[in-house]
């Protein structure tokens, strides 16, 4: 059974992880992540992005710094890096493709 919303959510999480991996070692503000995700899903919204970032934080893959000014700053944790680099098994919830290289 194909569920487009689920696919979109989970792919978005994977793309967020990829973005933050490219933004290492500094990390990135949510604006940059959103701009990147919008390069893939043109209709991605800030709220959607924050939801997925929050989910990734709950999974301890991402560190979030919620600044008093309202901006969020995201950075990969050690586990996040391992997931992106295929060192760890990825539990369901993130559409990580199989390693093909």
């Amino acid at each position: 059974m194909l569920d487009p919303a689920k696919t979109r959510r989970e792919s978005m999480r994977w793309y967020i992880l990829l973005t933050l991996n490219n933004a290492r070692p500094i990390g990135a503000y949510e604006e940059l992540v959103l701009a990147t995700i919008q390069g893939i899903y043109t209709d991605a919204t800030a709220l959607e992005l924050r939801r997925e970032l929050d989910y990734l934080e709950d999974r301890k893959l991402v560190n979030l710094k919620k600044e008093p000014g309202g901006r969020w700053f995201a950075d990969l944790t050690r586990y996040g890096v391992d997931v992106v680099e295929y060192t760890l098994e990825c539990e369901p919830g993130i559409a990580r493709p199989n390693k093909y290289y």
Partner: protein, 130 residues
């Protein structure tokens, strides 16, 4: 009581002589005084002129060095400006903005993932069709 008689003309001439000699003395004294004052004033003016000339020369020297230093400074700023423009050019040509790099790289990776997925699906479908 004997009386002294002085005749009028000798008296007049005596007084006149006295007056003339006195006036001559005053005139000569005045002249000497004036000439001395004049000399002093001249000396003073010469001294003042020397001082003025020296001061003017000093100022001129100072202004000249100041102008030279200004010119050198201006040259330095010009060089700095040129260097800055050069670097601006180099930066726009040789460096990629961090944000742009992250975005492009991620999108390329995402596209690669998509292609890999498609190939995988094709392989699976092909297997099923076989």
């Amino acid at each position: 009581m004997s009386s002294v008689t002085i005749e009028f003309w000798p008296l007049l001439s005596g007084i006149g002589l006295l007056l003339v000699s006195f006036l001559g003395f005053v005139f000569a004294a005045g002249k000497i005084l004036l000439s001395q004052t004049d000399k002093r004033l001249d000396q003073r003016f010469v001294a003042l002129e020397t001082i003025r000339a020296e001061t003017a020369k000093n100022w001129e020297d100072k202004f000249t060095t100041l102008m030279i230093s200004f010119r050198e400074e201006a040259k330095g700023w010009q060089n700095l400006e040129k260097d800055f423009l050069k670097y601006q050019n180099v930066i726009s040509r040789e460096y990629v903005r961090r944000e742009d790099y992250i975005r492009n790289q991620t999108i390329i990776e995402a596209k690669l993932d998509g292609v890999a997925m498609r190939i995988e699906n094709l392989q699976l479908k092909g297997l099923r069709e076989c």
